[in-house]
């Protein structure tokens, strides 16, 4: 690439595009169980352990969910605190 084209700006490099696309597709393929065990149950267990140190919560009141929305993956953690905690 010449200095002139550098000065006048150029569209995004294709290698960077490749990397972004791969990051997304690899994350998605792992999420759909093509590789290794699902980590969600373990995450949920550990979250319960950590939160229980500070607040007494019912294990059923902690929900962990992974959702896919087009290009994004959303990790949703829903914790319902009992009344006495406040």
């Amino acid at each position: 690439m010449s200095l002139l084209s550098r000065i006048f700006g150029e569209k995004k490099k294709t290698a960077a595009v490749a990397k972004e696309r791969l990051q997304l597709i690899i994350a998605r393929e792992h999420g759909s169980g093509t590789r290794g065990p699902d980590f969600l149950p373990a995450l949920q267990r550990e979250l319960i352990e950590v939160i229980s140190k500070y607040v007494s919560v019912n294990p059923e009141d902690i929900k962990v969910n992974l959702e896919k929305q087009d290009n994004y993956e959303v990790l949703e953690v829903n914790i319902v605190l009992p009344d006495q905690a406040r």
């Binding site: 002139l4 490099k13 290698a15 990397k19 696309r21 597709i25 590789r35």
Partner: protein, 271 residues
């Protein structure tokens, strides 16, 4: 103790056979008694790359079926004293490779005192590829810095982590190594090619080495001489480093930096 090393990739044409031939030769040059097995039943090519195609009498499937003894099928390499090639069969029978048969051959090679067994995997995720990785202790995942190759490597890593004997039996997992091949430092510098760091970041496997894109590889296959023997070429040097690192030695990465052209070329664009 014998170590079984699979050279795999998922995608075809990335350099598995070139790597298997060079890597197995490199181990033999370092004094290890090494066997290299072609698992690509129906499309054997390792024999051509190793330059022993005219000496194939019996093959892997003949041994599995009891039609030949293992030492009748093993071909002694013409370059290295300690290296033996077990060619694939040209049969079209997909089910020719059985797990029991492969295991029997590997155990027999162990009894014969081989230090390393290098398994050259076929492309794809079918039986041949799975059989090649089933008994592996270590895996060299050969990847080109290109989207389809990276994705397929990721896929084969998943299969390695679920279908290998080590995984199935809950033993210590297969030791994974990443080998980036057909690397062009110039194109990486220009933002046209994924860098080896990108590939490593995506696949999260320790880097064993980077083999530069080179005309020497075609010269090597034309002659049936594994690329590691082409003295003085970048590819031979890079494979020698790979073998050294595999054996636990420290070697700095070479052939990954691009030397920038002068100011004149940069001002007006050289290409």
């Amino acid at each position: 103790m014998t170590r079984v090393v699979v050279v795999t990739s998922g995608k075809g044409g990335v350099g598995k056979t070139t790597t298997s031939a060079a890597f197995a030769s490199g181990l033999a040059l370092r004094g290890f008694k090494t066997a290299v097995i072609d698992f690509d039943v129906g499309l054997r090519n390792l024999d051509l790359i190793m330059g022993c195609e005219r000496r194939v009498v019996y093959d892997f499937v003949n041994v599995i079926n009891g039609e030949a003894k293992l030492n009748q099928a093993l071909i002694k390499d013409k370059h290295c004293e300690n290296l033996f090639v077990l060619p694939a069969s040209q049969t079209r029978d997909k089910d020719a490779l059985t797990e029991e048969g492969v295991e029997t051959v590997i155990r027999e090679l162990e009894h014969m005192g081989f230090d390393y067994i290098v398994c050259d995997s076929p492309a794809g995720i079918e039986r041949g590829a799975v059989m090649a990785l089933t008994f592996a202790d270590e895996a060299i995942v050969t990847t080109n810095p290109e989207v389809s190759s990276v994705r397929d490597s990721d896929r084969i890593l998943g299969i390695l982590q679920s279908k290998s004997k080590r995984a199935a039996e809950g033993r210590e997992p297969v030791k994974e190594h990443l080998l980036v091949t057909r690397y062009s430092p110039k194109r990486v510098e220009e933002g046209e090619m994924l860098s080896y760091k990108d590939v490593q970041e995506l696949l999260r496997v320790p880097l064993l080495g980077v083999i530069p894109e080179s005309e020497s590889v075609l010269h090597a296959s034309n002659q049936g001489t594994p690329a590691i023997h082409l003295k003085g070429t970048d590819v031979a040097e890079a494979y020698t480093d790979v073998v050294a690192r595999f054996l636990g030695e420290e070697r700095a990465l070479r052939f990954v930096a691009y030397e920038k052209p002068g100011l004149f070329k940069r001002l007006f664009g050289g290409n």
